[in-house]
Assembly symmetry: C2
Homo-oligomer: 157 residues x 2
DNA sequence: CTGGTTGCAAAACCTTTGCAAAGTC
DNA sequence: GACTTTGCAAAGGTTTTGCAACCAG
């Protein structure tokens, strides 16, 4: 599966006259093998197994190039480093601010908001770039049950 | 601007047995005067006028303390530094990734998504921390118009 | 007085950049 | 061979931390 996906990616770049360098091949391979997202640091470590010479700076520069080419995207899950994934892997992230758990959310849930923002403000929402923060089911239960009155906070002070 | 708002904030902290240090007073004053968000750096600069001794490290530590006390919040409006505001200052922002323009959005537009995430995942979305990135009307028009037609060619995979 | 806070400096952290060497087509 | 990309090192920007002096209550 990932083999064909990779070949398709390589062909796509080649057909656009883009160079297929070692770093690009290695990064795309690592990203295709990863089922979820990877930080630049994690990618550097994984790539280093096969190609020890590839430098962190190259990781960043190559990821940026691949982003410009529309092949790779990155998102911010909160504090900490950005995470990268192939652009065809479309999903949203729900990040719990209490326990850090990351849930993947279906894009369809966001279309209503996207349409509303487009209609109201002409704003084209790039909703996947930043994660949606909040509290996961478990932490929300703890918060509403115990000391901090999270529910009150929603109505403001 | 609102003297009363500040006094109420100070009283709130005092009544909880929290110390009212110079740094906290200065930061709360600066945040109350600011109509919108401030980065830690901007706050450091503004506070420095009245209290030149206050150090950047203190800015960060104090903001974190005030956050834990429920008085201050921060969010990430894009790449770059976080922005801080008083916790009772509730607003949604649409941030254009191309020109950096910030548009305020009606909170009611988000309730649909909030309900959907709660129902689907039990996830309590912190909509106040939800900086929506994308493209404003003007930049969206330019992008679809022609200049960056290359971006459209990302029919990846 | 006493414990929480601050100032300072230094580091941690993630990411970017200048330049020469290397690689790709 | 021409041009892009990489490796290296060093810096960039933001935020955190150890420790001693300091201050509010």
């Amino acid at each position: 599966m990932s083999e064909e996906r990779l070949v398709a990616l390589f062909d796509s770049l080649r057909s656009r006259g883009e160079r297929l360098t070692t770093a690009r091949r290695a990064l795309l391979t690592a990203l295709a093998q990863a089922d979820d997202h990877r930080t630049a640091d994690e990618l550097a470590a994984e790539v280093k197994d096969a190609y020890p010479a590839i430098h962190r700076a190259t990781i960043y520069r190559t990821l940026e190039t691949l982003r410009r080419l529309g092949v790779v995207e990155h998102s911010h899950l909160g504090h900490g480093p950005a995470v990268y994934h192939l652009a065809d892997d479309v999903h949203h992230h729900l990040v719990c601010e209490d326990c850090g758990a990351v849930t993947e959310a279906a894009p369809s849930l966001f279309t209503g908001l996207e349409n509303a923002l487009r209609q109201e403000y002409g704003f084209e929402m790039e909703s996947r770039h930043f994660a949606v923060t909040g509290r996961c089911r478990a932490c929300a239960a703890v918060a509403s049950g115990g000391a901090s009155a999270a529910v009150e906070g929603l109505s403001g002070a």
